[in-house]
């Protein structure tokens, strides 16, 4: 039997991690949709980042992306679990599916999806409780980093400065970054949780040029100096010449290892 669930909650509450575990425990097909959320009074709309999908797809290669298309006809619809992730900063007024924002219902008509379960972090005990911020106002910024590769030491410096307030009061930062050795790393930080979480994803890019895969940083907070963030990031990214130098060194090292 096909199931369609909506999972909502504020930034950093653990939606994506919970969804990943739920998919891993599901024996049938899995489909995923990420909605962007809506503007509220004094509350900027959450950014519809594709970081979460890129992360989930890395962990579950067969995951179906339903954000860009309707469910393919060839997919076995029996026992499919579709989860719609939706950022929402406030607790819904009503319990169960009647608490779903009408704008969400309307948006889901495009995908021909009708949810039969709705869970919200902070309301439903079925979901883990995490200490998240009570968001009253928030600024969001997303920077597309596709084809960009970081100098690893500069990335370390930038991330330290970012989460320690050098560019404004950051509540939440999430990013998928490329490193010159082909690694693809998920960075995750929220003010109320201790330290940053880093996860190296399964995909490894070849040591030749720039990977086409998704790369992005999303920052949410207050009094953020976006211009300074962007210019600092630009100073951390490798030029073609420097990247080729790094990759040539790594290629030679791999060659030596394989000869030995």
């Amino acid at each position: 039997m096909s199931q369609t669930w909506i999972i909502s909650g504020p930034p950093g509450c653990g939606k994506t991690s919970w969804i990943l575990n739920t998919f891993k425990n599901h024996s049938g097909n899995c489909g995923y949709v990420r909605l962007g959320g809506y503007s509220e009074i004094n509350l900027e709309q959450a950014i519809n980042s594709t970081i979460d999908f890129a992360f989930l797809k890395d962990q579950i290669p067969n995951l179906l992306d339903l954000s860009s298309s309707k469910l393919p006809l060839k997919v076995e619809k029996e026992n499919i679990l579709i989860i719609i992730e939706f950022p929402q900063f406030f607790i819904p007024k009503f319990q169960g599916i009647s608490g779903i924002d009408l704008r969400v219902i309307k948006e889901l008509e495009i995908y021909n999806l009708q949810p039969n379960k709705y869970l919200h972090f902070g309301r439903d005990l079925e979901l883990p409780i995490k200490d998240t911020l009570d968001f009253k106002a928030i600024e969001s910024c997303s920077i597309d980093l596709k084809k960009n590769i970081w100098d690893p030491a500069s990335l370390n410096t930038f991330w330290f400065e970012l989460v320690n307030g050098a560019y404004g009061d950051v509540y939440r930062a999430k990013a998928l970054m490329n490193l010159p050795d082909g690694r693809y790393i998920l960075f995750n930080w929220i003010l109320t949780q201790k330290g940053s979480q880093y996860q190296t994803l399964n995909q490894v890019a070849p040591l030749n040029g720039r990977p086409e895969r998704h790369s992005e940083i999303v920052i949410q907070g207050k009094n953020l100096n976006f211009q300074l963030i962007k210019s600092t990031i630009n100073n951390c990214l490798l030029s073609d010449a420097v990247l080729e130098h790094h990759q040539a060194t790594l290629r030679n090292s791999q060659l030596q290892t394989s000869r030995n």
């Binding site: 370390n156 050098a166 100073n235």
Partner: protein, 271 residues
Amino acid sequence: MNQAVISCLHANLPAVEAVLKDIELQGITNITCLGDLVGYGPQPNEVIELIKEKKIATCQGCWDEDVVDGLDACDCSYPSQIAERRGHFAHQWTTEKLTKENKDFLANLPYSIRKDECLFVHGSPNSQHEYLLPDMDAFAALERVENAKAEILFCGHTHQPYIRELANGSISVKVKNSGSKDIQKKEMNLPMRRIVNAGSVGEPRHGGTKATYVVYNDITNDVKIREVEYDIELTCKAIINAGLPPIFAWRLKNGFEFAERAEDASHFCER
């Protein structure tokens, strides 16, 4: 008699003034400065003029050398691309601001100063760019002091103050001459040597925000690390007003300074 050793002033005038005041309050008149009068901070000319006015014996730091030579700090001394770009910006800014007289002053500073059994250098006796970190290999550290023919080596550059005693040092060497079956054994026992790092007045990197320097008593051989509060806000405002990267002010204010150095502690620039 007490003497004060200061280092790495980095154009931070409020910090230098506060430290000199603290030294004066202790009745100390013998002061040695281990260089890096300029770089990163907003008041390079003011700091140089204060050092000149007080007639403080000073040796040349890596920044002093680079600014004079018109060189960007050597790429290999930066830990990251972002640090290098920020460093180059600060270097260019400082070069533009310095008067010709003050550049000449920096150019004529000696690499080292010797006072009896004490040797005063910026980085190490080998180079202004070499870092003698507190956890440096003991043999290498002892070699630096012994080669310099000093009992106490005063250095800066790392911005982290420390006192390191190298006690009961011994070097064993086995030599086999060509054509001979005999192996000669030689053993040298070295007396205790000390490395004293004065930390930094203008850009401390010891995890706090206070300026640091050391006081050495040449009769009792006691060395004390001193920490001095100063008006950081004043320096931070001056950094912003000067058009230097705001991140310099943020790091200073939060005690988040980090050493602009290569990973290898004994890194030696071959430029």
